[in-house]
Amino acid sequence: MDRKVGIEVSIAAAEAAALCDVDVVAAYPITPQTHVVEHLSELVASGELGAEFVPVESEHSAMSVCCGSAATGARTFTATASQGLALMAEIVFIASSMRLPMVMFLSNRALSSPLSIWNDHSDVMMVRDCGWIQIFCENGQDVYDSTFHAFRVSEDPEVSLPVMINVDGFILTHVVEPIEFWTKDMVRKYLPPFQPAYSLHPDKVVTMGAFGMPEIFTEQKRAHEQALRDSMPIILKAWDELAQITGRKYSPVELYRTEGADTLILAMGSICETASLAVDNMREDGKKVGLVRLRLWRPFPVDELRKALAGAKDVVVLDRAVTPGGGNAPVTSEIRSVMYHEPEKPRIHCMIAGLGGRDVGPDDISRMVEMALIDKTFDYHMYGVRG
């Protein structure tokens, strides 16, 4: 283990990408961009990082450059947020369908309108079905460690899929946290060189991104979908090895004080730290409440979730995005879906909170749990809305 430093989380993520000796960084440097690529551009400019920094003319081009870069076998990184993700969305789906390994740091921010630069999960939920591996981080150390893990999983020949690291905008991206840094030696042991199955090279000619007739389209979608599901054991193995190196163990579904809990809070991202404080408070008051933290959003950890939620009477899902006119908010819908065939299923309550940077404190979360338990007939609630 190297040193522990107080550092802004975005800068730490950039340092992690640099430590992975990334070859190409393509990004569009304007709001809502974070300091991640700004710092990487500084490292490239100063000569500390021997990478190609491509300051493209739009986010659409950023992802296009990343696709081309990954196709040549270069280690590829980018970062974006909200409107930037919206603009690159077309190519985001292409990157995964073409099985191009790369890592994207997504600062989760609200989609306009109204114009907002603050945190919620509406941007990532827009590309929920893009076929990337999608991980949600709770704190700065988590973000830093996830960068190494993401490259390791993404470039694994058995996986060969892009990985999206979701980091709550401002709440995580712009705060200074104490982060334990990795050494070059640790990275060398953990992250092997990128050896793509196919690359664009004149010695071995291949065509990438070809036309798919109706006779073959379904087969290719199935192959992609299966590859995403089959990435699970490799994700787990990479987390196991990360634990051996760092002593920090990450899992698809993480539990906090769930022993004997009747009621479980389920959430993703930085709100989980707040929720853990709420759980402490409620436990002190004698309430049997625990927290289920969903770290891995794609591939969806179905078995782990069923196991975690088994035995609970109520599950309160903290959703950070709205599905306007839909069956329910995105996380709640999926949780209900995986529990539907279980012989004993909890009531699953939806609480939409923290939209567009609205602060959610521990007391808010305790209040949400109370509201969900009191009004059993009304299970779709936009918490804290006036009127």
Partner: protein, 98 residues
């Protein structure tokens, strides 16, 4: 192509749909689309090569021995571009027979 496209299973698809066999588009016979057929009128042709250049399927080839152009109807999809582009009306377009 080793296997006809309609027989390839999802397990056999190359990673990300990569095509490892260059030029395999030729396995796809666009001539099956044809509802109209170009007919070459040799005596009008001035050998300007415009049809050869404009054909989107590279289905028109010169026959040097006989100093004429020939159509490959396996790929000619009957789009009529050759006829449209011909400056001397040397390519007629006719309904494809049954």
């Amino acid at each position: 192509m080793a296997k006809p496209i309609e027989e390839i299973t999802w397990q056999e698809i190359e990673l990300g749909g990569v095509i490892t066999e260059p030029g395999n588009a030729s396995c796809y016979h666009t001539g099956t689309w044809r509802s109209q057929r170009p007919r070459y009128i040799e005596e009008r042709c001035i050998r300007c090569w415009r049809c050869f250049v404009m054909c989107p399927d590279a289905a028109i080839h010169p026959d040097y021995d006989n100093n004429v152009f020939v159509w490959n109807y396996t790929y000619c999809k009957g789009c009529g571009i050759c006829s449209y582009e011909c400056p001397v009306d040397a390519i007629a377009v006719e309904e494809e027979g049954e």
